[in-house]
Symmetry: C2
Subunit: 547 residues, 2 copies
């Protein structure tokens, strides 16, 4: 998008640059550091950091990073939980022109070493909790990487590694040092490796423009303002915390950090810090629902806590249970490649009066693009033509707009494949409803084809979630001589409940599903999960072959 226009009445205008400024989250913190100078930006345990302090610390940290010779458009990696330093790095690294690479803290040393190598990291910030895995990963790297250890007086786990600790490093930053002068808003701001990739790393690159716009779209989607207090139940390493570090800061809300998800601590913080917003995968919501009664608040809050959830469609039972506890759920949909949330299941006025179960079904749909997410279509992947908006015809979700990634780092083949036809191909199979709301039916690779019919594994799981004894369910294809594939259900039970028989479960499912969709097998076992809490259906598919 250039400024050049064809010759016309309007082509001869020149404001000497006064009318164009690159969009970037950097501007958000520059603004709030004086507009809300005295306001609390970050809470972590007893620590309270004002916006003035937050801003000046980011500024000085950026100077320190530049001071050790980090160049623009090179990679700075971080292995860190949801502590204040992780928020600071989300602003300080972009201020240097370098690219922030947040690494999933649950990864093994070998995968971390692969990421550090592929992203050509120049520097690694390591929280003391991850000292061992970081050291092991660094030992596998053939380059020298500058390591800065992040201490945390609140915990005594792990140990400090690296030549310098974070606070000493930050204090060494020369605040007179000029920061990077961002002129091109499409410059890279962050690098995130998608989970589950081995051998062929996919490093998703975001831009300053995309980060700023997705952050603002999310402000509007979940209704953040300067009165908001946001609890960090979403890992900050996951799609840059869905861009919420930038969202909350843009409006001067308060961040509440926590190192690990403990339902008791989550309920305590909601009450103690007057939390208004949080975001979490459905699995975290499940943890809250199934927390011991004594951990739960005895009175329901007068103002509900707004919870943004995504990563998987929340079963209607989860929506129902959360609302009963005083949370208000907004269902978002996206992928690492779309800066996290791209679609929002925007609530309609007339849903309020619907019975909870019907409303929950509507809310489980993935929805419509947020204000700044651009376009979403459900298309036939062969022809790229939209499928009819009939709520039945299955196609692939494709996305286009400013909140689609810049591409996969050093992977032109997959980048080209992902953007064929000028749309990002999500790999998610969905229907388009007549009201324009998309509903994911399955991942392309998770669909079950039985006797030539498509069976959505999500639909079968949704039926199983209705059963009073079932806590979690995952359904995958099992090879079958007669039908090609049949659904195989893996189930975990709620604590203290009895296992139903397979016949019981089949009879239960028959009330909710067409006969050909009934699982052929039911397996009771713990479910294998990725580091971000997603159920690993690829592992279950292997297991199903042996059932």
């Amino acid at each position: 998008m250039s400024d050049v226009q064809t010759d016309s009445l309007y082509s001869d205008l020149d404001m000497q640059g006064a009318d164009l400024q690159p969009l970037s989250p950097i501007h958000f913190i520059q603004r709030v550091s004086y507009v809300f100078a005295k306001k609390t930006a970050i809470v972590y345990g007893e620590r309270r950091i004002s916006y003035a302090e937050f801003g000046s610390r980011c500024r000085q940290l950026a100077a320190a990073i530049i001071g050790v010779g980090i160049e623009p458009q090179t990679t700075v990696s971080v292995l860190c939980p949801n502590v204040p330093e992780m928020l600071e790095l989300h602003f300080a690294v972009p201020m240097t022109g370098a690219v922030l690479n947040t690494i999933n803290t649950r990864l093994d040393a070998k995968t971390i070493a692969t990421i550090l190598g592929h992203g050509e990291s120049q520097m690694l910030f390591v929280d003391r909790e991850y000292a061992d895995v970081a050291e092991a990963a660094l030992a596998m790297c053939d380059r020298k990487i500058l390591v800065i250890g992040i201490d945390d007086p609140a915990v005594d786990i792990g140990r400090m590694i690296g030549g310098t600790d974070y606070e000493t490093f930050l204090a060494g930053g020369n605040v007179e040092e000029p920061l990077f002068d961002l002129r091109d808003e499409t410059m890279p701001i962050s690098l995130s490796y998608t989970s589950g990739t081995t051998g062929n790393p996919k490093g998703v690159v975001y831009s300053h423009r995309g980060a700023a716009l997705n952050a603002l779209g999310n402000v509007l989607a979940i209704g953040l303002s300067s009165s908001s207090t946001y609890l960090w139940t979403l890992p900050l390493f996951h799609c840059d915390g869905w861009t919420h570090p930038w969202s909350v800061t843009s409006v001067g809300g308060t961040h509440v950090c926590l190192r690990a998800i403990d339902p008791v601590e989550v309920f305590r913080l909601i009450d103690a810090e007057d939390v208004t917003h949080m975001a979490a995968a459905p699995i975290v919501l499940s943890m809250l629902i199934h927390a011991p009664d004594e951990a739960k608040p005895t009175t329901v809050r007068s103002v509900p806590v707004q919870v943004a959830t995504g990563g998987a469609a929340p079963p209607s039972k989860v929506i129902d249970d959360m609302e009963t506890m005083g949370f208000k759920i907004t269902h978002l949909y996206g992928l690492t490649e779309s800066y996290g949330p791209s679609l929002i299941c925007e609530m309609q006025e007339d849903w309020v009066s619907l019975p909870l179960s019907t409303r929950a079904q509507k809310m489980a749909r993935q929805g419509v693009p947020h204000v700044l997410a651009g376009d979403c279509q459900v298309v036939d992947p062969e022809t790229m033509q939209p499928v009819p908006a009939d709520g039945k015809t299955i196609g692939e979700i494709v996305l286009r707009g400013n909140t689609v990634m810049k591409g996969y780092l050093k992977n032109p083949k997959d980048t080209a494949k992902a953007s064929a036809g000028g749309w990002f191909h999500s790999g998610d199979l969905a229907v388009m409803h007549p009201d324009g709301y998309a509903e994911v039916k399955d991942r392309s690779k998770d669909i079950i084809i039985s006797g030539g019919e498509n069976i959505s594994s999500l639909e079968v799981e949704e039926a199983l979630y209705q059963h009073p004894n079932i806590m979690e369910a995952a359904v995958v294809a099992r090879p079958d001589d007669k039908w090609g594939e049949t659904p195989c259900a893996f189930i975990t039970l709620k604590p203290g409940t009895d296992a139903p028989t397979s016949d019981d479960l089949r009879a239960f499912c028959r009330e909710h599903l067409a006969a050909y969709k009934l699982p052929s097998h039911f397996v009771f076992s713990a479910l294998p999960k990725t580091q971000t809490g997603k159920i690993q259906k690829n592992v279950l598919r292997e297991t199903a072959k042996e059932v």
Copy 2:
């Protein structure tokens, strides 16, 4: 801002355009026309227009405009009050690639003719109320301009002119006609002539990018959401209604139109339509405050109506009186050249507990840039260096960012002057407070220099507004042999109050002002105003010479 980056690890990314989309208000209506299809977009009297209808009407109107041969980057003018058609034109014209020129409806025929000529208008939409002045203006034009008359069954004033009426014209649009394919977000979207200019027309040009970003900044500044109902007390011709047509639509709020400001009708609509937001010049707030008691609501609303005000600093008395009536004021500052509001007097948590008078003083400051407004500085116009943030040193407000105009149409000289040094020069004199809030002390040309000392006319006016009998006050420089200039005060009284003597007023002012700032003369008379309700100090300066 190009996509080209220097050669680096990150330079080789290509998403075939899937990751970049021009920012434009056009996307806002395309989204809400299906996301909030059934929701009421526009209320006008008994009329109710849904978002689906609003979207499809804009789409068809755009097709009709293209159908008569209007080319991108040419001008389409409108002379119309705050009726639904005016909102439709704010989306339909941009959809064609043409530029929307809203004309101040209070202008005389000669000035309108000058605008139509300078902007090279191809087309003019005219509401029946403005038939006479439009016809007179068209008669002065040496080109043929296509005229479409806008009818309004709700009124019988004026008459229809033009070959076709709006509804017939719209209905003739071929909805199969492809719309303009916007590829460059810096393309012009609108053209607004600043008031008070004669001889040297200044046509302020906005871009699609700037319009979208200012609209979103305003959503955040005044807290709009899909639950908002916005009453159109701000003229839509004024800086495109400060970009609020695009703000309200972006989040799917409801617009409530009204043809003219009548305090009785304003209070009725607030109640009948459950209005949550409105914007208005301080003069309109004054009208509401001084409305007859029987027009005012007998009970104060439980949820206050959010009122954005700007165009002039609201006297603290006005803030006070409005809050007493159940309105919550947000003070904004901007100029036509900055898409309307650029600064917002962002409320601080600790202001809530201040005495109303102290708080009102803080709120009368112009404030800080809104989230998307970029940078504001108060500088010495000679050196372009920021003045000390001491709340005392006077400098000029300069602005830089995406919500600064593209320039003045066909006026490179004034465009260059306005953007000298890469900042937009506002012509407003201000101080910068230690907390980063700017406070306007005067227009450059309104400052009074008496005995070598600068006197802010606003400060003297603020003192006069404290007087219980004074409704409006305007202070200008009067030539004086001894002092060079002295302040001369023009005053209107509240209905039913007695005129104080000059000695009384001088004694009253002495309690609030340094002696050298006291007005030398007090004149009781109606105040001359521009079409946008601004007091014409240039006229008063001429009068003062004769006092």
